[in-house]
């Protein structure tokens, strides 16, 4: 596999950093190298949140990226701000429930994911990030879906949160092209 550079952006409270951590754990589960770099600062609920995840089969020299292979925009400000970061031919995952505008660039592949709407139909809008994660995994093939299922079960929705696992597994598989 090549090195995959992923950038995930949205607002605080949307589970942006959790998505990045799940991907990183998933990479570890497949014995791949990974790095997770969150934005940090005087962050708050409703403010901006983003993270960079690099996954590779060789040691990662640089956890910072100058271009992304895939970009997840969970809200409009994220799309407007980070669209230029995507490389030519890169994949832009748009949360179309919250983003009505279309991206300006025509040299990228846009994948529409009505993440909040799908999650709400499943019964919990908070699972929008997991819906999006499902789309990201399916369309990029960066990791195997069963690795993410393993992480959801063993690292995220376990112990007191175990009751949330079935809904989130459903959310993970909910998006269809």
């Amino acid at each position: 596999m090549a090195t995959h550079k992923l950038f995930i952006a949205g607002s605080g409270g949307q589970g942006i950093l959790l998505m990045g951590q799940i991907l990183t754990y998933g990479a570890m589960h497949e014995d791949l190298e990974a790095s997770f770099l969150p934005s940090y600062g005087p962050e708050m609920r409703g403010g901006t949140a983003n993270c960079t995840v690099v996954v590779s089969d060789k040691p990662i020299s640089c956890p910072l990226i100058y271009e992304a292979d895939a970009l997840v925009a969970m809200n409009l400000p994220s799309m407007l701000r980070f669209e230029p970061l995507l490389k030519r031919g890169g994949k832009l995952f748009l949360n179309t429930t919250l983003i009505e505008e279309r991206p300006k660039r025509s040299d990228i592949e846009v994948i529409d994911v009505a993440a909040n709407q799908i999650a709400m139909e499943l019964g919990n809008a908070k699972a929008a990030n997991i819906v999006m994660l499902g789309a990201l995994i399916r369309e990029t093939g960066v990791l195997q879906p069963k690795s993410i299922e393993y992480v959801l079960e063993n690292k995220v929705f376990h112990g007191k949160k175990a009751s949330l696992l079935p809904l989130n597994l459903q959310a993970f598989h909910a998006w269809q092209r």
Partner: protein, 361 residues
């Protein structure tokens, strides 16, 4: 070998300190390293150690001084302005020959500055903000694993030299997560074992008629003070032989050589690959010990092919003076830098390098 785990840098640093045998932690929260005192407050007592939240960094370093003088293995941490407050203590610890491990998770300055990563504490770390003739060994890892390994090793170096040892990382390393392997835990030195382990320490158990143990930094007679400082510098001369650490990449037949430590060295490593794709051979000297600085590494530069040496820094250029001493006039030394918490992209480094090479042709 232990299993790979995924941890936030700061938590991994704290865990590495505990596993390295640091039984006492004194600290005060400051971004971007507050997860360290948080982790210590949660974990240290469970493992038989002691956590104290001090009222300030000045108090923390002096608690460390007192505890370590009594033979305790102490780890302290802070971020740039907090480390500035600890500088008086660093000088006292050096003079009194008391080992303590210090971690700086640095941020942008001067002043309170910002909370994004920076390397503008190079002077503070290597030249010191404390008074008098002293040195502190300073190690600057490039990522979480190397930081963990150095924090784990640091107490042994501190004990061997009876001197503080600093590990210098930055806010980015503190906040990011990378899979890593933690070293096996060394057991804490029990209180009753301290006298045998550190015979100089103030355990209050000197044999009857034995020599009084004194830990102090006040020597009023100039002859005594001069002799004391000269003895310290015999240790520092040994440290300059034993503790120099660096890594080199692709110096052979290089067109240009970068010198970079910590976070920016990872960007430079990627820039080197990007430059290679354009037919430019770039190499790197990566200092791991900032004091003692690896001047000897500069003898490995190929002065027949290399046209320039570039000091790449997240500051206005602080290490560049040491780089110039290493190069010793043999080549022009240029600076590529960002500061204030901005980290350049590897592409930005590539563009600036090409501009520099145009200028020296």
């Amino acid at each position: 070998m232990t299993e790979k785990v995924l941890m936030k840098g700061n938590e991994a640093f704290a865990e590495a300190a505990i596993r390295g045998g640091c039984r006492f932690y004194f600290g005060y929260p400051i971004t971007p390293q507050s997860e360290i005192p948080e982790y210590m407050s949660r974990e240290l007592a469970k493992r038989g150690g002691t956590f104290v939240q001090a009222e300030s960094e000045l108090a923390a370093v002096n608690m460390a001084y007192g505890c370590a003088a009594a033979g305790g293995n102490v780890f302290i941490s802070s971020s740039s302005p907090g480390i500035a407050l600890m500088q008086e203590g660093m000088s006292f610890l050096c003079s009194a020959e008391v080992p303590v491990v210090v971690l700086n998770v640095s941020r942008g300055g001067p002043g309170v500055g910002g909370i994004q990563p920076g390397q503008a504490d190079y002077f503070q770390a290597t030249r010191g903000g404390g008074n008098g003739d002293y040195h502190i060994p300073v190690f600057a890892p490039l990522g979480i694993q190397e930081a963990v390994d150095l924090i784990y090793e640091a107490p042994q170096i501190a004990d061997r030299y009876r001197n503080p040892v600093m590990v210098l990382v930055d806010g980015m390393m503190g906040q990011m997560m990378e899979p890593l392997r933690l070293p096996e835990a060394r057991p804490f030195v029990a209180t009753e074992e301290i006298a045998a382990y550190k015979p100089w320490s103030l355990t209050g158990k000197a044999a009857k008629g034995g020599k009084r143990r004194v830990v102090k930094s006040l020597l009023l007679k100039p002859e005594q003070l001069e002799e004391h400082v000269e003895q310290l510098f015999e240790k520092y001369a040994l440290a300059e032989k034993e503790l120099v650490r660096f890594e080199t990449i692709g110096l052979e037949k290089a067109d240009v050589v970068f010198v970079a430590f910590g976070t920016i060295s990872r960007l430079v490593a990627e820039s080197i690959e990007l430059l290679a794709a354009e037919g430019i051979r770039a190499g790197m000297i990566r200092p791991i010990s900032l004091w003692p600085f690896p001047y000897a590494a500069f003898e490995q530069i190929d002065y027949t092919t290399t046209k320039a040496v570039i000091s790449a820094e997240l500051s206005m250029g602080q290490m560049i003076g040491d780089v110039k001493m290493g190069v010793n006039g043999r080549l022009p030394v240029q600076l590529i830098h960002r500061t204030g918490g901005i980290v350049p992209t590897s592409l930005e480094i590539v563009e600036k390098t090409k501009a520099i090479l145009q200028g020296v042709k």
